[in-house]
Symmetry: C4
Subunit: 210 residues, 4 copies
Amino acid sequence: MDDTKETGRTEAFSDGVFAVAITLLVLNLHLPDASLSDSNLGGKLLAQVPAFAAFVTSFATIGIMWINHHRLFTHIKRVDTPLMLLNLLLLMIIVFVPFPTALLAEYTVQPDQHLAAFLYCGTFTVLAICFNLLWRYASYKNRLLDKKADPEAVQAITRQYRFGPLFYLIAFGLAWVYVPASIAANLLLALFFALPGRKPPPTVPSPPIE
Amino acid sequence: MDDTKETGRTEAFSDGVFAVAITLLVLNLHLPDASLSDSNLGGKLLAQVPAFAAFVTSFATIGIMWINHHRLFTHIKRVDTPLMLLNLLLLMIIVFVPFPTALLAEYTVQPDQHLAAFLYCGTFTVLAICFNLLWRYASYKNRLLDKKADPEAVQAITRQYRFGPLFYLIAFGLAWVYVPASIAANLLLALFFALPGRKPPPTVPSPPIE
Amino acid sequence: MDDTKETGRTEAFSDGVFAVAITLLVLNLHLPDASLSDSNLGGKLLAQVPAFAAFVTSFATIGIMWINHHRLFTHIKRVDTPLMLLNLLLLMIIVFVPFPTALLAEYTVQPDQHLAAFLYCGTFTVLAICFNLLWRYASYKNRLLDKKADPEAVQAITRQYRFGPLFYLIAFGLAWVYVPASIAANLLLALFFALPGRKPPPTVPSPPIE
Amino acid sequence: MDDTKETGRTEAFSDGVFAVAITLLVLNLHLPDASLSDSNLGGKLLAQVPAFAAFVTSFATIGIMWINHHRLFTHIKRVDTPLMLLNLLLLMIIVFVPFPTALLAEYTVQPDQHLAAFLYCGTFTVLAICFNLLWRYASYKNRLLDKKADPEAVQAITRQYRFGPLFYLIAFGLAWVYVPASIAANLLLALFFALPGRKPPPTVPSPPIE
């Protein structure tokens, strides 16, 4: 009973942070004053296309990270102080996302574009590491999981997350080569994490279910 | 039990996004510095009348979209990954609303005014399409609905939503003719969607209730 | 069961809007760039004293309005479409509060100061009217109240709210005479509404409790 | 039942305020326009290091204050008007935190740096006092606590909080000597409050458990 309540507030606080961070992304879409510049709204909107692309990519990423957070907390039933601190660390990265998104939208000229993309992909790499830390801490010997958690579902998440940081490092590497490719890679990675982890193939013997 | 919890967090996250997006609208009401310009607050407030009108219309629209979201989730009892992604898509449009609202408030001169109104009405058209997608996915063969959901109430929603995108396209067309008329049409459409869908008239045989 | 859930989401959405609106007030506390002006932080902070006063008054008012909202929904157990629309109207005024607060903080010179204070007090007068509308709609013939609601407690709220708009109109009048007095009156009124409504004195026969 | 609901909404509103305040911190991370200045993003990011340090410290502090708020409300089971007002006071300080954080990030030159650090540490000192007020009001003679609250756990919190304001005053003093040391002290204090209060050592006889 107490445990449920505790998870409840941690989830509610996290939901709030995700919701605010994802909504603040719209503040990065801004236009020069109508009065100051020549009256050509169409041209200004076209100039904002990189900002729109960064908005959609960041929105998809934060949104799908929320789906993942929600998925983890379907299994996590108790919170303790280390978990709350790891969750705070994860939320700090989420809250930070609008900043590199704004950089990426604004610095579209060489060589700053590479640095902005580096910061953007680096943020998501750290985020993937935080998700691994949170999940491994909670799932280690079923420490904080539901006693009735399906071991296969737990393993499927662990397996899916294991390579997350590596994949994000590849997107990070692409940022040095060709920036749009790295943004596209981030979008693909977000979609990959939107899918639930696959159950192990039958050739791999699954641990006996107690 | 699990399903209820899942709907709970999806609703809580959505509530948060709606709440933040609707509140951020006030940031579009801004005045030039008191120090920089001549001290005529009254005149400046009058110049903000289009911004106030856009604020009220967007607030009413997001608020009534929240009422609709709430109404749908009275019937939806389970969430799966596609529903969460469709919900994210819908929330992305909601989060985007403050941007065309700001455009409409700021670009009051021809021909930019038409382009701003086009983006404003276009956003609401896409929003109406997203609502249809979400509802049709969830209600198709009662996929994610409450087993005890009243089929007539479900049909009433489907019927009311069917013409939503079309109505918004008409408002969209008005934007090319006379911008204030299209804003008024959006306000009327919001009020139309505030009302619950009408039950089918008795001449139409309703499906047998199982 | 259904009714409780409906109240639950209306309360959650309202909590979100109150929480965001009250937090956005801090954005009105801003300083000129450290780089642009001469390095005298102390003086600049002193120049912000009206902004701090407006921040504290608005925070107290929104916070206490939240306490009142919470108190009403202790008795309200069901929501219908008109109540949701009245609640949206009330929330729109809450969301609007940061704007007149910013005006009051920035326009400290005559005659704009009076106009800003007029808008500030006027907003709170409209807010008091909205609270009356919401409560009267819900409590009329116990329409949406808990069936076990204590009639004396319900009457105490009705009695306390009846004179709210009048009191705020007095603060509004003070704004034309002396602005700081009207701000102080708003702060006093907030504290008055923080107290629960008094039960009727024994000389007034209370309605029989069923 | 009623009591639980009341705590529920107070916690939900507080969660919302904490979530928004902690997320708004990212707005303090801003860069000069890409177009206006010379294109050297790396140098500009380096110049933002104090802002990043202030962001991390404030995020950790607000986050850990949320953990403490959550810990207190594990024991608090009922709310009354004074508690709601004390909670509002505490939330007002939380909401205020982004302002001194922005000052600290922006005013990095003598003597303004000391004044900014003074305001920063002073805010946290007042916050520590507010936490003591809230807890002492709620726990005085178990006024609003769960009847089954463990007296040792309650005492452990009281003991840990007693010296909070004093410790923050020391960080406040450090701000006059060497600003980075005071920021580090604040970070250490946040970590100290992240740990649950220690149970009393066995030599101190604990009060009999009723």
